[in-house]
Symmetry: C2
Subunit: 351 residues, 2 copies
């Protein structure tokens, strides 16, 4: 004998299954006495409504989904505790998850999460798509074909990722944030010779940040760099390597290294410490994102904080809005960032 169903509850309560259903879906269309009968029958039987059956019949799951990159790369895991720890502190997705969960709950939805390595992003998304009413993709590059199929079936919002035509989209103010940070370096610290270390050529976020960096030079009337001084792949290792290379190649140190993200900046901190270059005295270093690790390194990293939990919350709002009106025009929302002035640029650590 399986688990109790509406039939069992109905029989026990002496009503029809339709009434049982109504008690759960629209309680006020059922007379109070009847409702009580049903509820107590359900309680006695240990009835738990099946979400699958409900979802099939009503064509809605009551669940929102979030796909994000697998944060812990397998290498780090193999190398031991220190690196694993670093990986944990490098992930800003936790906050997005929390923001989404909270907002989803407010709207009566549960949250399904699924991480995936870059090469499996498509499968992951397709799998999640079948289980939810709406879906957010965080910082993942999904094959256009999958994105297309899925987004035709349900609302999809892209968070901090590659632009996708016709889809709702939320991102941080990459340009403005980097502009503010760079102006702080130039104006407040009087730094004129800055080297920008960018991300991969195909990263729109990193590109926007570089443009912010350029704009700060324009604002100050300084010569505008045409290209990043170097590029990395946004990992700690690549930041370290970029600095090593720059140190070896160039005769003269710039006054500051401006990185397209925190992880590379942290790698730079390691490299500079090894080479005996003192931050911020000899050279300042800045990042972007505001990952937990950025606070814990020494010196603490000056960076641009992305409003991660708000990213998650806004994602839910957008999904809910589109669920309500499937044909509303696609929107792109840009969330303001906040400059975190910490020790690595020469500012005192904040309270």
């Amino acid at each position: 004998m399986g688990d109790p169903t509406v039939y069992d509850v109905a029989e026990r309560a002496g009503v029809s299954i339709a009434t049982v259903s109504r008690v759960y879906r629209s309680p006020d269309t059922v007379r109070a006495a009847t409702r009580e009968k049903v509820l107590s029958a359900a309680r006695e039987l240990g009835y738990v409504p099946s979400a699958s059956a409900r979802g099939l019949a009503s064509r809605a799951t009551g669940v929102l989904g979030l796909c994000f990159p697998d944060f812990a790369d397998p290498e780090a895991e193999a190398e031991g505790a220190a690196d694993a720890d670093e990986a944990e502190m490098s992930f800003y997705g936790d906050e997005v998850i929390r923001g989404m969960e909270r907002a989803a709950r407010r709207h009566g939805y549960a949250l399904l999460i699924s991480a995936a390595h870059a090469d499996r992003a498509g499968e992951s998304m397709a799998d999640v798509a079948g289980r939810v009413d709406g879906l957010a993709i965080l910082a993942q590059q999904v094959p256009a074909a999958v994105l297309d199929v899925v987004s035709r079936r349900l609302p999809v919002v892209v968070l901090a990722g590659h632009t996708a035509p016709g889809l709702d989209r939320i991102e941080a103010a990459n340009f403005d944030g980097q502009l503010e940070l760079t102006r702080h370096l130039i104006d407040d610290h009087g730094l004129g010779r800055l080297a920008f270390v960018g991300g991969p050529e195909d990263s729109p976020d990193a590109a926007a940040r570089f443009r912010g960096f350029q704009a700060a030079h324009l604002a100050a009337g300084l010569p505008m760099p045409e290209q990043p001084a170097a590029r990395g792949d946004l990992t700690v290792a690549s930041g370290r390597k970029a600095v090593m290379d720059l140190l070896d190649r160039e005769g003269e140190l710039p006054q500051g290294f401006v990185f397209a993200n925190d992880q590379m900046a942290v790698g730079a901190l390691y490299a500079l410490a090894e080479r005996g270059v003192v931050v911020p005295d000899d050279v300042v270093v800045t990042g972007f994102d505001g990952i937990p690790l950025s606070r814990m390194v020494s010196p603490a990293l000056t960076t641009v904080r992305q409003p991660m939990s708000r990213l998650g919350e806004e994602a839910v709002e957008l999904l809910i809005a589109r669920l309500a009106d499937r044909r509303r025009p696609a929107t792109a929302r840009i969330l303001p960032t906040a400059l975190a002035r910490r020790a690595s640029c020469g500012c005192a650590a904040q309270a």
Copy 2:
């Protein structure tokens, strides 16, 4: 016209719906040529299998669930950024979530998460229960009636929470961890007069930690404290208050404050700083849990780290095992903790 279904795909591929189903559920029972026909028909149509229908027919959702307490208490949220930040850094659930997600994915399951305030834990659990094949409850007190109903329907594992008869259970080595920490204080730092600040009377975790504290005294041949010197409710505020009270009440300072968790210890650090008491010179302070915040306070908090991501992983393993054999005996697994010697006990900060 709704979304494409197995019928549409079957028609387009010139096969039966059973074959379409087989292509997804057991691809190798279908001839390669047929499989290709089906797959390409699916692709052309933009077919996405409905998890609800699948779940209803197969009586399994392919999803595991996690219920945990709502971390951000509404007060903190209202009070502004600093407190909200503190709340974020105080939650150790992120790691559990990550651990569970990873392990679940390894087993082919997705993860559904749902937070809830203490007073809604039951509803939250019941709701999630209908959507998943197995369920973990993290540090939540759920009404026995709900726990009973749900656990009769599907596997439930309790993580770091109140004991529940007959259910699988995973916890950290509260006794052993506190014993090790306390012995470190007594043996390595030569501290004999220690004050333990406990948690609520009904917290089994806090109670076990106090017993570890007691045992360390026994081991050292010191008089064994019968009761905690004070109790708090495990919040930062209560730790602060406990220390203030102790400071006001007692003439003589103990050599060390041993707290039942990190958050109270952090509150103590604040209180002591205000009163001009220097940690660790005048008095040492220790916590328990290893929350992110414990690393970021000054001095960094010596504490006992719980293996949070392993808690999550083990939860999945237990659920999977029980899914495979519903009548295996309930097990209680205790995971080893690790002592984190940091500055607040007088040890140098670790690399």
